[in-house]
Symmetry: C2
Subunit: 206 residues, 2 copies
């Protein structure tokens, strides 16, 4: 029933039930349960996050917990979203140019009024700056500024996308909105880069 309505295979649904991602249905008989509209919505949410959103199940579990927890407000919810959409890497070699890059990134973060606390969000920024410089690339303010401006505009734009009136769970919609925005924008970035590369380096092959 739930499987037919959602298009999700029964074993997958059973797996979500076992993993407590999906709440149990109302038992109607020894081996049967009834699932309502809420189950369907939850199932679609999970499939959107794991499918097009490409999140792993541990991220999905974390996000669902934040959505379900009434003590988690929107600001806190977005911290969880950011942590899951941009996962961190534990082990990174420390290049020589790290100190200067850290200093530049801090100035840059402060200038845009960005908050580097409590999440070490600028960490990858520092490291990529340092790595670009270690390569001899000229990664200075003129590198960072257009990037920051684009990021600001996109963040405003993303949050302006209207959440549907009367949604039962605005937090769930906010999570999906961010995840899907990232996916759509990555596709746009890829196509834009392809076009610029073709303009700059000409066509390839026959």
């Amino acid at each position: 029933m739930l499987s037919r309505r959602s298009g999700v295979p029964v074993p997958t649904i059973k797996y979500y039930l076992r993993e407590n991602l999906l709440p149990a249905g109302k038992a109607t008989a020894r081996n049967q349960a009834r699932y309502d509209e809420e189950h369907l919505l939850r199932l679609r949410l999970i499939r959107t996050l794991t499918g097009i959103g490409r999140l792993d199940l541990s991220s999905v579990r974390d996000l669902l917990a934040a959505i379900d927890d009434d003590d988690v407000d929107m600001a806190e919810l977005y911290q969880t979203v950011n942590r899951r959409v941009y996962p961190e890497k534990a082990q990174i070699d420390e290049p020589d140019s790290l100190e200067q890059a850290r200093c530049d990134a801090s100035r840059f973060v402060a200038e845009f009024g960005w908050c580097d606390d409590p999440l070490p969000a600028s960490h990858p920024l520092v490291h990529s700056l340092a790595a670009l410089r270690a390569l001899g690339c000229d990664a200075n303010a003129s590198f960072l500024e257009p990037m920051a401006e684009a990021a600001e505009r996109l963040a405003v734009h993303e949050l302006e996308i209207q959440l549907p009136a009367g949604v039962t769970n605005p937090k769930a919609v906010a999570v999906v909105r961010t995840v899907l925005f990232e996916v759509a924008f990555a596709a746009a970035r890829r196509m834009a880069r392809e076009r610029q590369v073709l303009l700059q380096f000409g066509t390839t092959g026959p």
Copy 2:
């Protein structure tokens, strides 16, 4: 020797050698080999891509092969980069609103002169549009246009970053430049979103 100069542990270097990611050194004795500057650069390249660039070894192998192959020109190299930086997902549920989204995305791709061939780059765009609409979000042209403009500006900006004069391998630098640009921009996106969320939803608990 190579380990001391690069800071990479010996077992890791041996692993890269076994996996043919790093070319063998010049044998100087039964159990010794000499590694030159080129080995060091290659090792730094691998570490940058797997570390801050967060690519898996199969992506790194693919990129190194494209860098090493003289028959692969810049345009083709970037196709490999795009494929690895934005990996595809095989299994995505097909929402009802897919057809309309496909149509909108095509018009949009054509309008910006983007190329949707030979890579199915617009696939995630179509799916995220459809999924947003399935949620009731208003994902139309006014959703796509600011995203596309930002993507175009960023692509131009990325390719304008000067490759260092006299680099021995411009293709290697181009790969790292793109990968690091993505990482830095993701950090900027995250911080910008955090700031906008705080502006919109206020601060979160102590």
